[in-house]
């Protein structure tokens, strides 16, 4: 055993539980689904011990509804699910975007479509995590690649949800969720924990969706003297339904601008050996582990290749990414789906950068060897 009693061997799913508690989560609603169930189990064990609330709902639609309700009375709230459950949640995730309710939704990805591969890995919800609910909105999605990152990214997801009054999706996968790694649990105060900005005006002046210079409105909880209306209908700054074109546009612009304006703060990329690279592997999540290993092996063979890992998957910092890729001749977008992210990188990359797609969608992880072969192929 390690001398440090904060050191633990744990699963990605367990790290999500610890990260959520560290961030101050005090409400969890969920429905059993493989491969995310350990998160619900962990929350059911831990939350009542800290005075928090756990409820197993009758389905995933109810789960996301309950956490939105709980968040609006002031508790940091989370749910966790996988593919089919994530699909069921979409309408109410849209409600959270529209009502600007901070919640965290973990999607431990498995193969799809439909029931698909409950016990096998996939990254095929890449685009669903960005565009799941109907309508126009901008989403924040974070994607850890290790057990430690599961912890850190869940904390960051809560911070951004509270800071920007928006749902944040944490995209992990079956392998990451069930993989065990050593990690050191941070002490209190070691990581930043952000709470929502509470209004400093008296109730009679309060507007739940006030347009501020930052585009993010302060947020009062229900049941503390600020009586307001929340609706999924397009609404004015007081939260009342509106059909006035200028108010409709203002609302939708707010949903976009409050995220896009802070892309620099939200985005997070980890690069590996990119300084002199001619070829880059672009990936996220568990694939980034294979990408780094492939880079290591390729470098031994004196191939100038590097890796870019998108830790914040959405929004991608387009200008910054374009600049990063300006010296790169070839980019391989490696992902466990049929090329969802590839289309996006192709759109963003500078004209002189060739973009290649490396995909796998047979329920297995992408191996470093597979990536090395692709590097060899594009180099020739």
């Amino acid at each position: 055993m390690s001398s440090n009693n904060n050191t633990r061997l744990m699963q990605g799913n367990e790290a999500c539980v610890h990260g959520a508690l560290y961030a101050g989560a005090r409400f969890f609603a969920g429905y059993p689904i493989t491969p995310s169930t350990e998160i619900a189990e962990g929350m059911s064990r831990e939350l009542p011990r800290v005075g928090g609330k756990f409820i197993q709902m009758e389905d995933e639609i109810g789960s996301i509804a309950a956490i939105i309700g709980a968040s609006n009375v002031g508790l940091k709230s989370m749910t966790a699910t996988s593919g089919p459950g994530f699909s069921l949640m979409q309408e109410n995730i849209g409600y959270a975007y529209m009502t600007e309710t901070p919640v965290v939704v973990i999607n431990v990805q498995r193969g799809g479509p439909s029931t698909g591969l409950p016990t096998k890995i996939s990254q095929s919800d890449t685009m669903q995590s960005r565009w799941g609910p109907h309508g126009d909105y901008t989403s924040i999605v974070v994607a850890p690649s290790s057990v430690k990152e599961c912890f850190d990214e869940v904390v960051r997801a809560f911070n951004m949800a509270e800071r920007f009054r928006t749902p944040v999706v944490v995209l992990t996968d079956e392998v990451l969720g069930h993989m065990r790694e050593m990690m050191v649990l941070p002490n209190k105060g070691e990581l930043e924990v952000i709470d929502r900005h509470h209004p400093d005006v008296p109730p009679e002046w309060y507007r739940h969706y006030e347009i501020t210079s930052s585009y993010v409105s302060p947020m009062a909880s229900m049941g503390e003297g600020y009586r307001f209306n929340i609706t999924g209908l397009t609404h004015d700054q007081d939260g009342f339904p509106t059909a006035v074109p200028a108010e409709i546009k203002r609302k939708l612009d707010k949903l976009r601008r409050k995220i896009e304006r802070y892309t620099d703060e939200i985005h997070k990329m980890k690069t590996y050996m990119m300084d002199d690279a001619h070829v880059a592997i672009f990936s996220y999540g568990i694939v980034s582990r294979s990408a780094r290993q492939a880079v290591k092996i390729a470098r031994e063979r004196r191939i100038k290749v590097g890796s870019i890992q998108a830790v914040t998957l959405w929004p991608l910092p387009e200008a910054k990414l374009r600049e990063m890729l300006s010296g790169i001749r070839k980019v391989i977008v490696a992902e466990l789906n049929m090329g969802q992210l590839y289309q996006e990188i192709k759109r963003i990359a500078p004209r002189h950068t060739e973009v290649y797609s490396l995909t796998r969608y047979d329920g297995e992880i992408m191996t470093p060897q597979q990536i090395l072969e692709k590097i060899r192929e594009v180099k020739s």
Partner: protein
Amino acid sequence: MTKAVLSSDVTHHYLRPKKKFPNVWCAGCGNGIVMGALIRAIDKCGLSKDDVVVASGIGCSSRMPVYLDFNTLHTTHGRALAFATGVKVARPDLKVIVITGDGDALAIGGNHFIHACRRNIDITTILINNKIYGMTGGQFAPTTPGGSFATTAPYGNYEKQFDVVNLAVGAGASYVARGTVYHSAQLEKLIEGGIRKKGFAIIDVVSNCHTYYGRFNKEGDAVAMLDWMKKHSMPIQAASKVPPEKLVGKFITGLMHETDATEFTDEYKKLVDRLSGKEASK
């Protein structure tokens, strides 16, 4: 006359001062009568506006909260009870009231409805039952009687109806009542009883949609439909004393079922207390 003025003062006290009249409902709609009864019931219970959360789903009835000066949560279709469950579990000290319709609660939201009953969570649900989908223009609902006409039952409805009362009793609700928009004084009392009850309370309110249901089924205008309620309903006390043949073609109103069962948030609190006691003794 003094009394009427007083009642309207009470009503205005609980309506949002700025918003948002005239309301969206058709003239003669029963929703306004339910809203009045709800307001008077809340007033009688002496609840502070700040401590009341009124949640609703989608449909004509679910537009009610926006007019009310409480914490109001207008959610997605069928999900009001799931949102309200989150609110109540997170803040058990708040009084949570759900306004829903027959389509909202029993079709798309049927699963949440039976599970809210099963948990016996302390939420008062007012189900305004007009036997049809009004907001979308008159399609049949799980409550539309067999043979009735609707835009999606142009040859007459061949489905069977839910009986809200039996459904709720079977699923475990601890307070189950039925009222009508004709009997507004009784309705007020039933709602008040539901609010005071610790546990899941459901008040099935027979209401009128003369715009669609009444028109399609030749039941006349709002007044005619209210008159129908008067003639075809019987209070449960009276119903228990008459022979069964006198009940044919009638529906029963009043408090249909009440039990004392453990309530969800109470049980959860006991768990938290037990765990914290255990932690302390370590």
